[in-house]
Symmetry: C2
Subunit: 265 residues, 2 copies
Amino acid sequence: MCELLGMSANVPTDICFSFTGLMQRGGHTGPHRDGWGIAFYEDGGCRMFHDPRPSAQSEVAELIQRYSIKSCNVICHIRQATHGRVALENTHPFQRELWGRPWTFAHNGKLKGVKRLPLGHYRPIGTTDSEHAFCWLLSQLRDRHERPPARSTTRWRSIARLCRQLGEMGTFNMLLSDGQQLYAYCSTHLSWLTRRAPFGMAQLLDAEVQVDFQTVTTPDDVVTVIATQPLTSNETWNTISPGALVIFREGEATEIDTRQIRAIR
Amino acid sequence: MCELLGMSANVPTDICFSFTGLMQRGGHTGPHRDGWGIAFYEDGGCRMFHDPRPSAQSEVAELIQRYSIKSCNVICHIRQATHGRVALENTHPFQRELWGRPWTFAHNGKLKGVKRLPLGHYRPIGTTDSEHAFCWLLSQLRDRHERPPARSTTRWRSIARLCRQLGEMGTFNMLLSDGQQLYAYCSTHLSWLTRRAPFGMAQLLDAEVQVDFQTVTTPDDVVTVIATQPLTSNETWNTISPGALVIFREGEATEIDTRQIRAIR
């Protein structure tokens, strides 16, 4: 399987601390040796870094840890290949443009028969189940809404339905973002925590690293971190229930139980 | 204006030498301070690095120079903003998926009225003329060919016609690739040179750096470099004529005079 990491914040924030923890799981404290990738939204754009090499030994990962790119929305993924060979084109996150915005997607899990779902506008470049699911999801969204729906709840509901449909095909833990919202769907494992004033000390589980967030924040900062497994040992993480979609905007969470949503079929 | 750099090779090759020369022009020997980006094709995938900061002072650029990513197709761009503010979303190269392949595009020049060209499948994320031209070009290609044409000359001709149309709107020097071919259209300035056995010494124009290519190649290597302005002082560069499209595949060039192609209108 793979591990996911996301961040949603109300002020551009670096993800160096959480990233340092996660990168250890890429061939050091964890078995996720088959590449990694990260997407940072900055202004209206998004830049991605991908490396098909293990993150614990990656020079690009080292740069990210040092360089401290600040962003309000981040999606990161470290891969343990289950479907699709180890190659750059199979390295998450994947990206496509929809409604003039860059959408990025990362997935953990296995989906059975997903490649039989018909594609529309978007075609996969690599051979993973995950990229196929992403292309299907965006194709469906685009078919239903030629323009972005004016009400964000309409968009949320559409995404929730599509996630539930994918969730029925196997294990579907995913992070999806258009740079404004970050969507987290949980099928088996996904946790999150929000840091806000009064800030305190955090200690990584995977490395001897701790940070006193009070020294690097202002009182108005709201920063949420989402991860497959909790990354710190001394903070309380919220576990997302299977079948729930949590939408993060500027660090604040809204939860939708997708089982409560009317089926589309 | 901006500067372009491309590479087409028959064996994965690093672009460190040429990249080192070009990066100097991003705020050091040249005025192109408004960001830079590079796309490397590796296997069926493509990874990009973007930085809205001047390349001569960019930590990401430093990594690329040190890390020596090997690729058969590379597109690089350093920007001096003329249209669209300095921002990540306006930083070339741009990328979109077409026919299941990642297409990348970088442009030098100004196009008048290009934003009046109707868009189809692809929408710009940023505000540059260049991204609009790219989205239009790919939309047109997709409308004409639902699948990639079996004959590569059919594809070449379609691209040549679209380039000519854009060329009529102003200055359109561009590099475009799908990872198999690299297309170079010249409106005013674009040069290229092919290095093959017997390899010799090359001296950069913009930095005190020289390389003896004989020590880093095998006798079968064919490596072509394309640039807005020649990058070396002791080699003979070919100048592309205005209105010509040169298609590079595994380092070998085929030239099409787009003025000889039947108009589409």
